[in-house]
């Protein structure tokens, strides 16, 4: 039997759909089937490359030894004719950008969800307060991150996320049925 942490980590890559909680209100028209197909194929390709390429570069038996297989994998790529020989630096910049986009999206979703919990009318002051809390928490976390065992912390978070997502999907399913009935 696989460990629950392994399942949680593996399922995380599919959990981008959760953001649709907020973004669904922006889909005014129905998405064309061809677009869905394109997205599906791109995702499949990304998934395939991010699993298979590190295994190919580092071996089936020893790829597990690396902490960050994907980043180390990029360091194995040599670009002899480009201005920078190590592909790592180009990739790291992309990687940082992707992480920042992800942070922005998640902050937005979290912010909107918190805004939704206000019983009264949203005021500018309240919004700013929430954002200040976000900032303060992140800055404090960054200062102390090395001593908080980030890999352990993120594992707990990933496991919690897995259960919460299942709960949320079923929950919203029932809410929707009750509203219709």
């Amino acid at each position: 039997m696989p460990k629950i942490s392994a399942v949680a980590v593996a399922s995380y890559i599919f959990s981008g759909y959760a953001n649709i909680i907020i973004f669904n209100r922006l889909f005014k028209v129905k998405i064309k089937r061809i677009n869905l197909l394109v997205i599906f194929e791109i995702s499949l390709l990304t998934l395939f490359t991010s699993v298979m390429i590190p295994i190919g570069m580092h071996g089936i038996d020893s790829v597990g030894e690396y902490m960050y297989p994907w980043i180390i994998m990029v360091d194995t790529i040599r670009l002899p004719y480009s201005p920078i020989e190590r592909a790592l630096f180009i990739f790291l910049m992309l990687y940082v950008n992707i992480s920042l986009i992800s942070v922005a999206v998640h902050w937005h979703v979290a912010f909107e969800l918190i805004k939704g919990t206000f019983s009264e009318k949203n005021t500018e002051k309240k919004n700013r307060l929430v954002l200040t809390l976000f900032f303060a928490f992140s800055i404090l976390a960054v200062i102390r991150i090395d001593y908080m065992h980030p890999e352990k912390l993120s594992m707990y978070w990933l496991v919690a996320r897995l259960f919460f997502e299942v709960l949320a999907v079923f929950g919203f399913f029932f809410f929707l049925r009750r509203r219709k009935a």
């Binding site: 580092h58 071996g59 089936i60 038996d61 020893s62 030894e65 194995t76 002899p80 190590r86």
Partner: protein, 366 residues
């Protein structure tokens, strides 16, 4: 407060906050010494285990630019030696340009200490794609080499190993990440090119084969070339056919090597190797004619098959597998004991080599 004042005060706050930023201990380029290659020898007349040498590139004027400095230090581990070496130089040692790691053969003979390659993997500043090699007569001698054609320190070796300069089937370059992978991978064994340091140049035309622990076999240059036909597709090389008066040389334009493990329902399991070579005759000890190409092809076919088979059997006898037959077997067989079965199978498996040689013409003369 009007809008402008508000914006300006915001800007001021941001600028003031910048005062709290700390630097990251960055050292300028003129306060760094760049390591270009690392050598590891056994220590002599010393209680320590290894002699670690670093070759630094020294920036110089235009006239001669491959000036360097070598610092060596004995130590039981690389980390220990490097730390002591820091007290022997005036500037920060920077490993980000170290692209060659040379081992002495003696280090391999008793069994290679895994820390001798894990240290490079574990460090952030080392490139995963630096090359590894065996240096003869010693690693230090390879570092000291100063080929006449070299413009930058160690660059001659980088060009040769990286196939940016010379391109030959006799050099089998090995990257650090691949070297480490081969130690962990069941069914794929590590190999290292051997660099012979000469007075004014160097020679890389043989390869050392290791099992998971130590050096097992060294191939001759011709055997190295044949092994490379399996490791790199489409090698451009020359195949000499026959030894005596009827010998001729084929300049290969395209070489394709395929192999298939035929192990199921067989009394005698075998590996079927298919070699296809396209080329033209480059040199011959006799008068060749375009009419007799079939005859030459046939002669070449038998000769090449025999030679390839000899190399494969030689590696099989030492029970090393740099081509990865074992890995291929494991990829085609499910089950918990596939690796065990292969280990029993490999020493007795037969090779059936079929070389398919197409000679397009005899060149511009008959």
């Amino acid at each position: 407060m009007n809008q402008n004042v508000k914006m300006l005060s915001g800007l001021l706050i941001v600028l003031l906050m910048a005062c709290f930023l700390s630097g990251c201990g960055f050292k300028d380029i003129d306060k760094r010494l760049f390591v270009v290659s690392v050598g590891i020898d056994p220590a002599k007349n010393n209680s320590k285990k290894f002699l670690v040498s670093l070759k630094f590139a020294l920036p110089t004027g235009e006239k001669i630019s491959n000036e360097f400095l070598i610092i060596s230090q004995e130590g039981d581990t690389i980390a220990e030696s490097v730390r002591i070496m820091k007290s022997k130089v005036d500037k920060e040692i920077d490993f980000s340009h170290a692209k060659l790691i040379v081992y002495n053969e003696e280090v391999m003979k008793a069994g290679l200490d895994p820390n001798l390659y894990y240290w490079f993997i574990r460090r952030l500043d080392f490139q995963e794609m630096s090359w590894v090699a065996i240096g003869k007569p010693s690693a230090l001698a390879v570092l000291k080499g100063k080929p006449k054609s070299e413009r930058l320190p160690s660059n001659a070796l980088f060009l040769a190993l990286g196939r940016d300069g010379t391109e030959t089937a006799y050099i089998i370059p090995e990257f650090l990440f691949d070297f480490k992978k081969r130690f962990g991978e069941k069914g794929l064994d590590p190999l290292l090119p051997i660099i012979f340091a000469k007075k004014d140049n160097f020679e890389i035309n043989s390869v050392a084969l290791l099992d998971k622990n130590k050096l097992k076999l060294k191939l001759q240059s011709k055997e190295t070339m044949i092994l490379n036909l399996f490791l790199t597709q489409n090698q451009k090389t020359a195949l000499k056919i026959n030894g005596g008066e009827d010998s001729f040389v084929i300049d290969t334009q395209a070489v394709k090597t395929k192999y298939k493990l035929i192990t199921e329902n067989q009394k005698q399991p075998y590996i079927k190797v298919d070699l296809s070579v396209d080329g033209r005759i480059e040199e011959a000890r006799f008068n060749v004619s375009n009419k007799d190409l079939d005859k030459y092809e046939k002669a070449a076919k038998g000769y090449v098959s025999k030679q390839v088979k000899a190399v494969l059997v030689k590696m099989q006898k030492e029970n090393v597998d740099p081509i990865g037959f074992g890995l291929r077997y494991r990829s085609r067989h499910m089950g918990n004991d596939d690796w065990k079965t292969w280990q029993q199978l490999y020493p007795t498996i037969k090779f059936k080599v079929n070389a398919d040689i197409n000679i397009s013409d005899t060149g511009l003369v008959e």
